[in-house]
């Protein structure tokens, strides 16, 4: 419209001028010029339009949300991503809505705007936003204040990035981090406790070692004392055997001389007294000898070897047969196993037990003495059974005590040391000794000997050596 007006006006002026001043060439030139400019203007307008369309398209399809907002917060323009971020219906035009509805806390928007007005632009500003449906979200905003020629702010253009997912991951990560920290702290504490415990046990160990050292010293002291008391005991038994026997011998000697030289001068009663004295000294002599033997046995070290118990018992039976008055004794003996022990001492055990069996059956018409053994996993249990006078089991606990007797001297002679010796020897072999009996129905004596060759003391030694 304007174009046509301009052309006709120019035509009129041209004609006038043509008519007035110049020739038609000038007019043609002018027309050409006008045409040229007109054409040029058209081209530039079209390309401007095209570029604006391209630009709009670019913004429309941008991967970031874009909007243009008036200063008072009215939405002027936006792109697809903006609509998507804030959950706006893509089919509807949302221009004209107020932006404050997208803030979780509208007061935050004021701070945001203050910042924007102060600097003119804002970068990577995190906003706690919400969608139209009210879902909380995090948005990273970059915005620019647009001003007119008078430098008056007219609108705001902003770009938005949805970082809700990132934020969630971050918070999850933070949570994980916190958990991890808790775990690490817990583990660290546990470790510290363990280290402390270790320190404590180390200390305890040190104390224990110290105690052990003290104990060792004490033990050495005790050992020394024991050695000393053993020596004293040795001296004592020497003294007993020597000095106690001498006066006994004297009593016996002088009584005998009295008997020999003045027997006829003495009344019957006096002779009786002298015979009592003689018997008493004899008895005391036996007692001293047995007591000494018993005492020596206690201190004696065991000399252990493999022993054929069968041979050993046969020897003892043979010598018993020779020493006793001819009697009707039926001996029964099972074949006995080999054991590990001190043959001299174990022989003494059999001698004492056999002597007892013979002694306490001496009032029988027919005597039966049976020797045998049983075994369990760890021990051989030997026994000797007789059909003698037996004893009342109520007094069984007194059997193995020194000087303890269950029969009077008038019934059966004895010192009360035989079974004490048996017990001492068997205990030294780490065995046990016991008896079963009833009055007038005979007695059975049992003793056990470990099957193993080592004794406990040696085992402890090996254990300590192994630890070094």
């Amino acid at each position: 419209m304007i174009d046509a007006l301009v052309v006709s006006l120019l035509l009129l002026v041209g004609i006038r001028l043509m008519a007035i001043c110049f020739a038609g060439i000038s007019i043609v030139v002018l027309i050409a010029i006008i045409f040229f400019f007109h054409r040029k203007y058209n081209i530039s307008t079209r390309s401007l339009k095209k570029s604006e369309e391209e630009y709009r398209g670019m913004i429309k399809n941008l991967m970031e949300g874009f909007n243009s907002v008036s200063i008072d917060g009215i939405l002027l323009d936006y792109n697809k991503e903006f609509a998507r971020i804030f959950n706006l219906d893509p089919e509807m035009d949302h221009r004209g809505i107020h932006l404050s509805q997208f803030w979780q806390n509208p007061i935050d928007r004021e701070a945001y705007l203050n910042e924007l007005f102060k600097c003119g632009a804002i970068r990577h500003y995190e906003i706690n936003a919400k969608t139209t449906t009210g879902d909380s979200m995090s948005v990273l905003a970059s915005a620019r204040l647009i001003r007119d020629e008078q430098n008056k702010p007219i609108r705001i253009e902003g770009c938005y990035l949805d970082i809700t997912g990132i934020r969630q991951s971050t918070s999850e990560l933070n949570e994980l981090k916190t958990k991890l920290e808790i775990i690490v702290e817990k583990r660290t504490n546990e470790l510290r406790e363990k280290v402390e415990k270790l320190h404590k046990s180390e200390k305890a160990m040190l104390y224990m070692v110290e105690d052990l050292n003290n104990l060792t010293t004490e033990l050495q002291d005790e050992k020394r004392k024991l050695e000393l008391s053993n020596k004293e005991l040795e001296a004592f038994s020497y003294s007993v055997s020597h000095d106690l026997r001498a006066p006994l011998r004297h009593i016996n000697g002088y009584v005998e001389m009295l008997n020999e030289k003045y027997n006829l001068d003495l009344p019957q009663q006096a002779q009786h007294y002298l015979s009592v004295i003689t018997n008493a000294t004899k008895q005391m002599g036996i007692l001293i000898d047995e007591l000494l033997q018993f005492s020596r046995m206690g201190r004696q070290e065991l000399r252990k070897t493999q022993i054929d118990m069968n041979d050993l018992v046969d020897q003892v039976i043979e010598s018993a047969k020779q020493n006793i008055q001819p009697r009707d004794i039926a001996w029964t003996k099972q074949k006995l196993p080999r054991v590990f022990g001190d043959s001299t001492l174990l022989k003494q055990v059999w001698i004492n037990l056999l002597d007892n069996a013979v002694k306490y059956t001496s009032k029988n018409e027919k005597t039966k003495i049976e020797i045998g053994f049983t075994e369990n996993e760890t021990h051989f249990v030997f026994f000797i059974r007789d059909n003698g006078v037996g004893f009342d089991m109520r007094y069984a606990h007194k059997l193995f005590g020194v000087f303890q007797r269950l029969h009077s001297q008038a019934e059966f002679e004895g010192t009360g040391i035989g079974l004490a010796s048996v017990q001492r020897i068997i205990h030294k072999h780490n065995g046990q000794v016991w008896a079963e009996a009833s009055p007038d129905k005979g007695a059975t004596f049992f003793f056990s000997i470990p099957k193993t060759e080592r004794n406990d003391h040696e085992r402890v030694e090996i254990y300590i050596t192994g630890r070094r």
Partner: protein
């Protein structure tokens, strides 16, 4: 007839001396016995010292030696005699109250000729002393004088 030889009895206990002499008397050996009361006196006798300075020359046929004596014990005497060149061949019989294993070993190691435990029973004691007396004073041949 064989020359009458002396027996040296070292015993500190007077009752033991009496009983021993009593036993020897039964076999007509008592009058040959010289009694000393401890080890020191034994050495004095053998070396002609002290109260025995002027005694008749000659060694006893046997020394009956008690183990337990004051001043110098029987075992110390035995040791001293066996390490003395002029006395070492003297026959020595330990006559003691008890059979102590350590004593027994020591005496034999030192070269004793016999070790006798005095029996408690007097009849046994008489027997023992009789055997010793008869054996050493009558049966046994002494080592040559020049080595004594």
């Amino acid at each position: 007839m064989k020359e009458l030889k002396s027996i040296l009895l070292a015993e500190d206990n007077p009752q033991d001396v009496e009983l021993t002499l009593e036993a020897l008397k039964e076999h007509q050996l008592a009058n040959q016995v010289v009694v000393v009361n401890d080890g020191v006196e034994v050495m004095e006798y053998l070396n002609y010292e002290g109260q025995f300075k002027d005694r008749k020359k000659g060694n006893p046929v046997v020394l009956l030696l008690d183990v337990k004596m004051p001043r110098m014990s029987g075992i110390e005497v035995l040791e001293a005699i066996r390490s003395n060149d002029t006395l070492k061949m003297l026959p020595i019989v330990m006559l003691t109250s008890s059979r102590q294993e350590p004593d027994l070993k020591k005496c034999y190691a030192l070269g004793v000729n016999a070790y006798v435990v005095k029996p408690v029973n007097f009849k046994d004691f008489l027997e023992a002393v009789k055997y010793i007396g008869v054996f050493w004073a009558m049966l046994n041949e002494l080592p040559p004088m020049d080595t004594m």
